[in-house]
Amino acid sequence: MPDTLPFPPRMGSNAGQPLSRRDGPLKVTGAATFAADNHPEGMLYAVPATAAIARGRVTGMNVAAARAHPGVVEVYTPANRPPLMHDPDEKLGLFGMRMEALQNDSVRYAGQPIAFVVAETLEAATEGAALLAPEYAAEPARVTAETGERYTPERVGFGGPLSVGAGDIEAGLAAAAHRLETRFETPDQYHNAMEPHALVAQWDGDKLTLDTPNQAIVMACGLFAAYFGIPAENIHLRSPFLGGGFGSKAVPTGAQILTILAARELGRPVKLALTRQQMFGPVGHRARTWQTLRMGLDGAGKLTALHHHSTGATSSFDDFIEPAAAASRTLYASPAILTTHDGIRLDTGTPGAMRAPGEASGSAALEVAIDEAAEVCGMNPLAFRLANYAEVEPITGKPYSSKALRECYEAGAKAFGWASRPLAPRQMRDEAGMLTGWGMGTAVFHCPMFPASAEAVIRADGTAVIRTSGADMGQGAWTALAQIGAAALGLDPDQVEFESGHSHLPDAGVAGGSGHTASAGQALHNAGEDAVARLAELASTDPASPLYGTGNAGVLARRGRLYARDDESRSESYAEILARAGKPQVEGTGKGARDPASAETYALQAHGAVFAEVKVDPELGQMRVSRMIGAFAAGRIINPKLARSQYLGGMIWGLSFALHEEAIHDRRTGRIVNADFAGYHVPVNADVPEMEAIMIHEDDPHVNVLGVKGVGEIGITGSVGAVANAIWHATGFRPHRFPVRIEDVLPSLS
């Protein structure tokens, strides 16, 4: 490649610009087609029936009543479910999970699909499922820490190590001037994307078209294909828009497999759309954690030891342990750090990745613990964090590829007015008499990349099309990725058609881990550069071209023209070059992936600082976040308008973690008693007053060719702690369990 610097002058134009979403007009007119909006001719409706017990067996169902309901076409139970080519209890690939697809009559969590009704109308399928009235042989539900089975998992998260550390914790504690041990509990949370999981399946011979929201479009085809014994290429998965994903829409689930099966068996397209209630169980969640932090501190307020242990819950039949303690590996300097995990098996659905898996729960605990440590040392929480600032990654000793956290602290604190914060709690009231508190937290998120590929085609008229199977679940991929591709091609985004969102395109990898822009973006960047290089080759080898003899390295690409780098009076348009060469187009390809050398050499992390103001009614304990400011440094920002929305959305998730979200199981039946939006609270508009996201400039030549770290998840980290620490500052009550409830703060009030 002639020029490997990201967006050098040659690639000038639009990346970094706050463009509005390219899909905006579709989304504001209702024309954006989400999976459940599809209506192929002759379509049937599928509705799963779900278990009302958490453990045991289904002993009977009134299949006859369901079948007799007008409009019902078929009822599937374990007794008549046609065979699958892959066992739903066998995991597939790194991200595959065990699922329920009517393989037997056992029940392993409440809400599990136990039958599947297909009908001519949604109304008939829904009532058909209700008429099944299952009977059970129930065993006691194990949904509490006391009744669950404690165990030592092999891995945490997606294959992460159980224990990571360096230094001697006990020695560090022994030498400390102050020692602190503090415990935390975080609840079950459910992704609850606004769009419930949906799928429309249509077979044509052994070819399958799937309309379903998916965060890893090409990978998912391979997983779906395995259950039906067809090549992955036979599946055309279309996912132009995801109505939110947050980690829950990457791997197939049982009800989706059954929908495809029903469509094949019945010879008609079938649509599945889970109800909101059915989202609580079979599509993953962020599981409970019980965390302990042990800290040693010297007389100057520096950490001498930091041990973070997390016990994570998973299901009785599969493993996903929240890697919560990992949050403590990279943020604060200490001569001894140890992060450890173990697990508890409960009768719930299997948890999975939910926006900032690990970091969200882990940083909630860590950031409160850090505030407690600051209190023990009599220090301002910001001064304490600066005193323990990690100049290199503590455990590995690696330098950070870039780290503008200090600038985040400064800018956030200044914008918030942190300097006037009284040290002690319960010092501030507003004009209405509300207890007012200020808290902060540090945000951190690692910067993963996934293998991705893309192609770029410059066409005879000088415009281009770029292609990759990316997924836009609201992060703005359609816009930011197009900006990257257009920049690499030396074109305005308006001149670039972006084809994405389905599986018959180069694999864009996973839209997750905040790594989609970096991964698919790098692939598009490389594809664009490749196409430009081919164009430069045509021009510089053609004696009739003004660019003859320049070579690829000798040209700039800008606004649809190539210019001689050392003499911009020599230039030629893409259309002219192609016309003279008699070619309809030139094609470039590109890949994106983490450079192993940079991962080996550098610690790769995005950082931020979040400041929150909380008001607490001094008698009633009702709480509200009144102000929140986050300052983030996450490498290059491709589109500040969309990145701001990602940051603010993440901060709202942090607020929600701190004050609202918790799925509550009935201890006896194991059923979730608040499995809807009336009971499972997420913030409404009135919960979210003033918020601001400040973007701190960060040039990172090491993290990847684009310098992009990712902005999708970091906003939630730090924010939970900031809100919890503000509650302490307002009331003197130190939260150790989330969400913080009125009765928690009440004893600290008058």
Binding site: E127, Q622, H660, D666, R668, R671, V673, D687, I742
Partner: protein, 352 residues
Amino acid sequence: MKSFDYIRPASIAEAIAAAAEPGTAYLAAGTNLLDLMKGGASRPDRLVDITRLPGLDGVDRLDDGAMRIGTMVRNADLAHDPAFARAYPVVAEALLSGASAQLRNAATVGGNLMQKTRCSYFADPAAACNRRSPGAGCDARQGENRSHAILGWSENCIATHPSDFCVPLAALGAVVEIAGPAGSREVALEDFHLLPDETPERETALERGELVTAIRLPPDAAGFAAHSRYMKLRERTSFAFALVSAAAFLKVEDGIITEARLALGGVAARPWRSKVAEELLKGAALERRTFAEAATAALAEARPSGDNAVKIELARRISIRALLLAAAGTPSRLPALPGSPLSSQYGDLANA
């Protein structure tokens, strides 16, 4: 949802005739009924649509000074009726503190009275619930009952009535007008919702086929407009049911309370008016100490029905707050967050 027959009668008489059969439900906006039908907690065979019946959507001042609200008046329309809101600001505030703008645009005042408890065990057909299925038992009693009743509950049922609107109505002595197969009658709103005792399945005073046609506020109800507030404690800033709530009304002359009304919400299977507290307040000065005594008296009989003892203290405190704010005077404009302590400027008295 179970299949049902849909009937659209042309008159109240036709409606009542159509509702004579067991398994019939009246359909107004349906915002609560459809919710329950979708979840399977309610499975009527027949819906009698009363939305087109003539004469049920008026808000009228009667000759004796009473205010009559037709059963089909939508929550939002009542709350935004300028004359109504001026005379009964707390009723408007309570209405606007409930649900969402979309639901308030649809839901009717009659439907607000008729809405069911939000006890999750009532809504879950797989759970045992005496209210939904007599004799089945009460899963809430040993279950997740943090938000359940602290007053008037029985071993058979610990559910609460979720309405905000009914709380000030109970305090103001509202009357429910009813039409039925045996003719028309009236029931005090305070007696309209039944406490569970041995028969939690009997939720209201309505007999089969009876229809709420109007709610009437008595002539003296408008006398509290200057000193009244509704306060609602909830776990989200908006669009959430009350953990506890209180409506407080005072008539004040020369700093002395000449008459008081106090009712609590979210604490029992009915809006809970406390005449004991009202008696204590009568003749007293506008002092925090008096309000605290009244609140304590209002909750003297309260006891936890489960893991909800905190609600007793919260109910006491929200009562004091509502009384303090009523004493300070009804705000000239409804606060931005109706019923919320978060938007109240409660000033010196509250900090006393």
